[in-house]
Symmetry: C2
Subunit: 342 residues, 2 copies
C-alpha cells in the first residue's frame, strides 16, 4: 500500500502547436488517476504556455507537465515545483539548464515512443531498401524509371543511439532479418544489437576505425541520438562521404544532428542512395527551404514517434508513477541529467 | 530417374525493356540445367523480339521463353513450339489467343513474384497507414503538415485476388496483425485469409451485399487481380465512392483494373485517404500524364514483384520443371487457360 500523499497541484502547460490528439485534458488526468487505483491525488489546472497568468500559476504548482516550457518564468516563480514531467524525449530546446532549481526533478518521456517508432522504422528501412526516395523524386519529375530491389534480409543497419529509440529501430530491423550494429558512447553490449561500437568522442583510436568501417559497410544508417554539444552536426560532409555509395540514411533524432546542406549535396552527387528524415532544422521546415526539393529525399513532419491512441495515457502514467516515487522517496523514472543533456 | 529427353531447342526472346538483372543468358541456363542434375537438355539461342531472323528462329524451336511475344510470327511459324514459358504473370497483353496453336502449352510465371511482393506489400500497407501519400503531396507543395497515426495492428485489409499475389499480400498483412478479407470468384476459403467473399460477377445478391459491406469497412483495399474482360475498370467511380472515407488503396495487378480519372477524382475530393500504385495505363506512364501530380498518390514503376537476385533462376526453374513434365506427360505447372484469361 502506497502512503497517501498530499494532492499534487499539477499545472498542465499547453502550447498552440499541440495536436488535438496529444492534448492533456481533465478526462485524461482522471483516467490516469483511476489507473493508479487512486494511489495519487491530483488537482490539475490548465494554462497556455504564453498565458499572462503563468507566473501565479507556477508559484502555486508543485508539478508541471508539458513540452515547451516557459523556462524564464520557471526560474523566477517555479522554485516550488518538485517535478517537471516532459511529454517528449528531447530536451535540447531547454538547454542551458540554469533555470532549473536544485529541488526540481526534470523527467522526460523517453520510452513512450518506442512502439510507434518500431513500426515506423520498419517502414522506413523497407522504403530505403525499395528505393522509394528515388521513386518519389522520379514522380516529382514525371519520370517512370525502374530500379529493381531484392529482399532486405541480410542487409546491415548501423544505428546511432542504443536507447529507447535506437532499441525500437533495432527491433524493427530484427523483424526484417537485418544485421544490427549500434553506436553508443561506450561499447557495452545493448539488448537487440548484434554488435555495439563505442563512439569516438573520447579519442579511442580503435573505436574510430571500427566506426569508420561500420559506416562504410552499412546498407542503412539511422540516427536516433539526442541533440547535445557532441552530437550536433554529427552527420556532416565527411560522415556522408564515409558511407557506402548508394546506402540509405534516416534521421529520427533531431534535425540538428544533420548538416542539411551536406545531406543535400551527398544526395545530389549520388553518393547517398536515398534519405528519409522525420526531423529537420528548423521545425516546421519553412516553405522556402531547399530541402523540400532535394533529390532522393523524403521528408515527414516529425510524426514517427507519436501514437495518438496511447501517447497522452502513456505520458500521464509516467507522471503518476513519478508522483508516487516522489511521495515515497524512490528514484524517479526518466530523470534527465542536465549536465549530460539527455 | 527421369527418362532422358531429346534436347529442347529453346528460343530466348528478349525485349529492349528487359532490365539487365532480369535478362536470361547462357550462364543462367547452364545454372538452371545444373540445378536439375542434368535431367533436362537445352540448346538455347537468343533473339531480340524485333529481330528479322525471328521467323526462322521460331520454326526451329521447340520451346520459347520470354514475356513480350511476337504473337503474329508465332501464329505463322511457331506451330512446332510445345511450350511457351512466360517469365511474367499477366497475359492480358497476349489476348486474344487466336495465335496459340492447339499443341502449344502456354505457362506463366505466377508464384515467382510472391516473396518480393510480400515484402513490398508490407511496406505499402505501412505507408498507407502512416499517411505517406499525404506527406509526399505535402512535400511537393513545400508544406510541413502533421498527421498522426496509431499502430496498424487490428486494421482490416480487403484483397481482390486470392492467388499467388493476393496470398503474398495476405502474408504481409498477417505479419502486421491485420484482419484479412479476400475477394475471389467463388467464396471458397483461401489459405491465409480470415474471410473470403465471392465476387458479384454472376449476379449473386448476397455476394454483392457482402462485398459492398467489406469495401465500406476496409481500412486498406488492394488489387492483385489479372486483367480480364470482367476485371477491366473494376475500380471505378462507384468503387471508390463505396470505400470508407480516408481509406487507403493499392494496385499490384494491372493498371487497367483502375479507372485512373476516377482514382484521381476520389483522391482529389478527399474521399480516398491515399493510394500507392505500382501499375498504370499505359506503362511507362508518359511524362504528360496527370497521374504524376494527383493528390495523395504515390506511383512506383512496376517494381513491386521482381527480385533481381532470384527472378531469372526462379523463372528458369519453372521452365526446366515444365520441360521435364512435358517429357513424362505430367500436367504442366502454371498452364494458362486462354479462355479464362489467366
Amino acid at each position: 500500500m502506497e502512503p497517501r500523499m498530499e494532492p499534487c497541484r499539477l499545472l498542465v502547460c499547453r502550447t498552440p502547436e499541440d495536436d488535438a490528439a496529444l492534448t492533456i485534458d481533465q478526462a485524461a488526468i482522471d483516467a490516469a488517476i483511476a489507473r493508479t487505483g487512486g494511489a495519487v491525488s491530483i488537482e490539475a489546472s490548465f494554462i497556455g504556455s504564453g498565458d499572462p497568468e503563468m507566473a501565479d500559476a507556477l508559484a502555486n504548482a508543485t508539478a508541471l507537465v508539458g513540452w515547451r516550457l516557459p523556462t524564464g518564468l520557471i526560474r523566477q516563480h517555479g522554485a516550488g515545483l518538485r517535478l517537471i514531467q516532459l511529454v517528449n524525449a528531447g530536451i535540447d530546446n531547454l538547454a542551458p539548464f540554469d533555470w532549473l532549481a536544485p529541488g526540481t526533478a526534470l523527467c522526460n518521456a523517453s520510452g513512450i515512443h518506442a512502439a510507434k517508432l518500431q513500426e515506423w522504422a520498419g517502414m522506413v528501412l523497407l522504403m530505403l531498401h525499395a528505393q522509394m526516395p528515388y521513386f518519389a523524386t522520379a514522380q516529382r519529375n514525371f519520370m517512370w524509371s525502374r530500379r529493381a530491389s531484392s529482399l532486405i534480409a541480410g542487409k546491415t543497419v548501423l544505428i546511432f543511439g542504443t536507447g529507447a529509440l535506437g532499441g525500437a529501430v533495432a527491433r524493427a530491423a530484427r523483424g526484417l532479418g537485418l544485421h544490427i550494429i549500434g553506436v553508443r558512447q561506450n561499447a557495452a553490449p545493448a539488448a537487440g544489437f548484434d554488435e555495439v561500437i563505442g563512439s569516438a568522442s573520447h579519442g579511442d583510436v580503435a573505436g574510430v576505425a571500427a566506426l569508420a568501417a561500420a559506416l562504410r559497410d552499412a546498407d542503412f544508417v539511422v540516427l536516433t541520438l539526442p541533440l547535445t554539444a557532441e552530437t550536433r552536426g554529427l552527420a556532416d560532409e565527411a560522415f556522408f562521404a564515409g558511407m557506402r555509395p548508394g546506402a540509405g540514411f534516416a534521421n529520427f533524432g533531431r534535425g540538428a544532428l544533420v548538416d542539411q546542406p551536406a545531406l543535400c549535396a551527398a544526395l545530389e552527387n549520388g553518393g547517398l542512395g536515398g534519405a528519409i528524415i522525420d526531423v529537420a532544422t528548423p521545425e516546421p521546415l519553412p516553405p522556402d527551404s531547399l530541402m523540400w526539393q532535394a533529390k532522393n529525399l523524403i521528408i515527414t513532419p516529425h510524426v514517427s514517434c507519436d501514437d495518438p491512441a496511447t501517447y497522452v495515457a502513456d505520458a500521464l502514467d509516467l507522471l503518476t508513477d513519478n508522483l508516487k516515487r516522489l511521495g515515497t522517496g524512490r528514484p524517479l523514472r526518466n530523470r534527465v541529467d542536465p549536465a549530460r543533456g539527455y
